[in-house]
């Protein structure tokens, strides 16, 4: 037991210590010390990142009687999740000023959400997975509702209800799977399904499980929450919401699809069809929207569905494309939300409020525009390579999936339309006497924006290293 803790659990333990520390400090310190909360949590995440080096990965390590595991795949996801968490903490400077009293609790919840996300990826049985998902989910409700006003509460409540229903789906699937295989451990289920014939009930349970998990990615039956949640959420929380739960869920869905749920052909088709519906819904919804946050909500849903469709066509090669796509997507998204965070919460995020912003803030706006163009899949940014690499996976999965691919490609035209709608007002002419469009950005926001845009460009021009890494990870799963 103690061995297991020291072999694979030290990052979580580090985070846990800092969570407790933040809770204690929230009781002891006066509200004036709110600035330290951000620094303490940043230190906590940095320590967790350093502790990742202690995790055993060769070739796979199972701890706590096989309920938690670690290999290079989980290590990569843990690293990216922690990094995203770090960037989120950097972006929260403006938010913390408005919630002075609750700053310590807020960061404790943020850290526990990150801890939940790490646990989700490294879970090796359904019980651990469920507990971790709830840890991630419950922290997220509070994070969403943290900003002032009615909309954030509405958003949190909506997220709560959707998550509850999707948890029901998930548990339903798990109970059926337990009924078939007699185990909740991934390895034992995988052994069972490779030895025995599978039935339709197995497929139904697999579909239920994946749907329950995919609700956090806003895939079709549970897609509507994303609009209201993004609308009501503070931008730094959006940077969290659009990266960390997504990474965690993809991390576990990919593993489930390769091992315990990998024997179901129905799953592939159901997920592919649902993803196509999601992509269609999200892209058409965004066309008539004028709120930038909602447009990015739709974009998040659509992008998740592209990646999930590829992940459902199970093969190791496809897995590497999905991981690469996710990494590129997360980087672009952080850049986008860093810019929106600088823009501030005072004005509504209407497209017209961004007009002419380029003329006073050249660097920041250009970086933002590059990130958005990258999301649209325009070269030379990483989004171009990521999309091409992802679509090679679908095209090489057989001629049956060509209609799906064609559908996705045509939906990308719609996507380009709404991304252009976001970008174009930035460059419009404006009245030179108008003082309000000068953006006041602090150092950490600029750092995140420029770093992510630089990475986006770098990966776009020479993607080979990251692709090699993703292939290595995918072949070692």
């Amino acid at each position: 037991m103690i061995n297991d803790i020291f072999n694979i659990l030290l990052p979580q333990v580090g985070l846990g210590i800092f969570i407790i520390l933040l809770f204690i400090l929230s009781m002891l310190l006066s509200p004036r010390c709110y600035k330290y909360a951000r620094i303490i949590s940043a230190v906590g995440i940095s320590i967790a990142i350093t502790l990742l080096s202690t995790v055993q990965t060769e070739p796979q390590y199972f701890g706590f009687r096989g309920s938690i595991m670690s290999d290079s795949y989980t290590l990569l996801f843990d690293f990216i999740i922690l990094l995203c968490g770090f960037f989120t903490v950097l972006l929260t400077k403006n938010l913390v000023k408005t919630i002075k009293r609750n700053a310590f609790t807020f960061f404790a919840l943020l850290l526990s959400a990150i801890m939940g996300a790490i646990n989700v990826v490294s879970a090796n049985d359904f019980l651990t997975l469920f507990v971790s998902i709830e840890l991630l989910g419950f922290s997220t409700y509070f994070l969403i509702s943290v900003s002032k006003g009615y909309y954030s509460k509405e958003a949190a409540f909506k997220y709560l209800i959707t998550s509850a229903v999707s948890s029901g789906f998930f548990l339903f699937g798990v109970s059926y799977l337990y009924g078939i295989t007699g185990s909740i451990n991934f390895s034992q289920i995988y052994e069972y399904i490779t030895d025995n014939e599978t039935s339709l009930v197995y497929s139904v349970s697999a579909i239920m499980i994946v749907l329950g998990l995919a609700s956090k990615l806003a895939v079709f039956p549970f897609a509507n929450w994303i609009i209201d949640v993004y609308k009501g959420c503070e931008t730094s929380i959006l940077a969290f919401l659009s990266t960390i739960p997504k990474l965690a869920m993809f991390g576990i869905i990919c593993r489930l699809m390769v091992f315990p749920l990998g024997n179901s052909f129905e799953l592939t088709f159901v997920i592919a069809v649902l993803c196509l519906i999601t992509a269609f819904w999200a892209n058409t919804y965004a066309i008539r929207e004028n709120n930038v946050k909602v447009i990015f909500a739709c974009s998040a849903s659509a992008n998740a569905s592209y990646a999930l469709m590829t992940a459902s066509l199970v093969s190791v090669y496809n897995l590497s494309t999905v991981i690469f796509y996710l990494l590129c997507y997360v980087i672009m998204n952080l850049g986008v939300f860093a810019f929106l965070n600088m823009f501030g919460e005072e004005k509504p995020f209407d497209v017209s409020n961004f007009s002419g912003i380029f003329h006073r803030n050249h660097g920041l706006t250009a970086a933002y525009a590059l990130s958005v163009l990258s999301l649209a899949g325009i070269p030379v940014m990483s989004g171009f390579i990521a999309k091409i690499y992802l679509f090679t996976a679908i095209s090489s999965s057989g001629f049956v999936f060509v209609p799906f691919l064609l559908g996705l490609l045509l939906l990308m035209v719609m996507a380009l339309f709404y991304y252009l709608k976001v970008i174009l007002p930035l460059f419009e002419n404006y009245d030179k006497n108008n003082e309000t469009v000068k953006i006041k950005a602090n150092f950490s926001q600029q750092f995140v924006l420029y770093l992510t845009t630089g990475l986006t460009l770098f990966i776009g021009i020479c993607p080979e290293f990251l692709i090699e890494l993703c292939r290595f990870i995918a072949y070692n799963i």
């Binding site: 590497s320 050249h362 660097g363 163009l373 899949g377 325009i378 070269p379 030379v380 171009f384 390579i385 091409i388 690499y389 679509f391 090679t392 095209s395 090489s396 001629f399 060509v402 691919l405 064609l406 490609l409 045509l410 990308m412 035209v413 380009l416 339309f417 252009l420 460059f427 021009i461 020479c462 993607p463 080979e464 290293f465 692709i467 090699e468 292939r471």
Partner: protein, 499 residues
């Protein structure tokens, strides 16, 4: 010599200069920017001509860029590799020339946002040169996509200044730019599907994980799949070319863009579609092309005849020129469909000839519009009375576009018809050759109407003080006319290179 004359430099010159122009450190003085951009274009043209002079068809220019010893995407066999063969070389020279004259003629047409405009112009040049030189399918696609963004900003941002109804004109330019980008992007998505499938089937059938044009062997790929791939690719190129049902973006984009942008669009951008058909369908997938060619020939005939009639009905002089270029692109498509050596030579020759002619015509309409603030052929008249020099050029260039001997289009039209007549593929193509003959009459109808209605007649009083051509405009028109005459009198200079 190969060290100095290399393809990456050819692409990087405009690309880097465009970034320099865009950076806030560069001066925002209008004159400096204009002269700087012009001299860069001139240098680029000189560089291309040097490459053309030292071109050796036995030993074409190639370049393969690697990143710290690794290819671009090794997992897919995608390489960052370039190659210039005869056709690419000729088209690069055309591109460089058109951009040079476009940058010269920008002086009177662009009044605002100079930095952004010239930067986008140079970025577009880099992308188009990239399309013509890349020897890898995905690299081709990269440049194909890259070209859209500057083209969008050029069409939507640099509208016709000095218009009477400024705001309306601006809105229209934006709308047509969106139309352009949506059409092109949907086309290119079909093209991406074709490329992905071609890459995949080439890998599983021939066992070569590569996306270079030379590594693709279509002989063993099943014909149904080949046809599917070929038609996906053709939709992509057909939007750019344009082939008839996919053409509606073109008249709007060309009409609402400012003169130099229209010159670039019609002069070079349309040729990327024809080049794509040559590179992918004609050269890489010849088997399926032979089956599709008769259908394409019919589409080409529709392009030629239908647009000629549409063109005759237009009243906007820019629209007349735009439709006439659709008609001429049909001719290029027809000569490619002939699938023989003469046809290939004819198509490349017509790309050059039409590129020059259409640049000249757009220049003339632009000059007239700048002076008279009017593009309607019914109200515009008497231009010849105050602008005799422009009239002289207009007559000569219109004659060239009709296909009068001594000018370049004459040679290419004759060659097209000869090649289609001699085509061994199908009788449909031979009949198409016959059907394309009316083009010569129809084109003279609409072009002479353009000349007759616009330039003759009584001049309105308010236009009596209009100035004739300025030095810039004279230089542009004279160089276009010179090119037309040189290639019309010595066609072998190009034809000998191709065959």
């Amino acid at each position: 010599m190969n060290m100095i004359l290399s393809i990456p430099i050819l692409i990087l010159i405009p690309c880097v200069i465009s970034l320099i122009l865009l950076s806030p450190l560069f001066t925002s003085n209008e004159v400096t920017i204009r002269r700087f951009a012009k001299s860069v274009c001139a240098f680029h043209f000189a560089y291309t001509i040097l490459m053309l002079i030292f071109f050796d068809s036995a030993n074409p220019y190639t370049a393969n860029i690697s990143f710290w010893g690794a290819d671009w995407v090794q997992a897919l066999g995608i390489k960052f590799s370039f190659k210039i063969d005869e056709i690419s070389m000729i088209l690069c020279a055309l591109t460089s020339f058109v951009f040079l004259i476009a940058s010269i003629s920008s002086k009177f047409n662009i009044r605002k946002n100079h930095k952004f405009y010239y930067s986008m112009l140079l970025l577009l040049e880099a992308a188009i040169i990239g399309i013509f030189t890349s020897s890898d399918m995905f690299l081709f696609f990269l440049f194909w996509e890259l070209e859209m963004i500057p083209a969008y900003f050029l069409i939507g941002g640099s509208f016709n200044y000095g218009a009477k109804n400024y705001d309306e004109e601006r809105e229209r330019a934006k709308k047509s730019a969106i139309k352009f980008i949506l059409f092109t992007f949907s086309g290119s998505m079909f093209m991406l599907l074709g490329i992905l499938l071609l890459h995949h089937y080439n890998f599983i059938i021939n066992g070569v994980l590569s996306s270079c044009f030379t590594d693709i062997n279509d002989s063993a790929i099943p014909m149904s799949i080949q046809l599917f791939i070929a038609s996906c690719l053709l939709i992509g190129f057909g939007v750019k070319l344009p082939i008839i049902p996919l053409h509606t973006w073109l008249p709007d984009a060309h009409t609402n863009a400012s003169t130099p942008v229209s010159m670039v669009l019609a002069g070079v951008l349309l040729k990327t579609g024809a080049y794509g058909i040559y590179r992918f369908n004609y050269e890489t997938l010849p088997q399926s092309f032979q089956i599709i060619a008769p259908i394409l020939a019919i589409l080409a005939i529709i392009n030629i005849i239908y647009t000629a009639f549409v063109c005759y009905a237009q009243t906007d002089i820019k629209r007349i020129v735009a439709y006439s270029s659709i008609s001429n692109m049909g001719l290029i498509l027809l000569s490619l469909c002939a699938f023989n050596k003469i046809g290939l030579a004819a198509s490349v020759f017509h790309m050059i000839a039409h590129g020059l002619v259409t640049c000249g015509l757009f220049m003339i309409t632009g000059i007239v519009y700048l002076r008279f603030k009017d593009r309607n052929i019914n109200t515009l008249q008497g231009v010849a009375m105050v602008m005799p020099r422009l009239f002289g050029f207009a007559v000569l260039i219109v004659l060239a576009s009709i296909g009068v001997p001594m000018f370049a289009p004459f040679i290419s039209e004759i060659l097209t018809i000869i090649s289609a007549m001699n085509s061994e593929l199908s009788f449909v193509i031979r009949i198409s050759a016959l059907l394309s003959l009316p083009l010569l009459i129809l084109s003279s109808c609409y072009m002479l109407k353009f000349l007759h209605k616009g330039f003759y007649g009584e001049l309105k009083e308010e236009y009596l003080k209009v100035n004739d051509l300025s030095v810039h405009e004279f230089v542009v028109l004279a160089s276009i006319l010179g090119g037309l005459l040189v290639f019309g009198l010595f066609p072998n200079s190009i034809l000998s290179m191709i065959s």
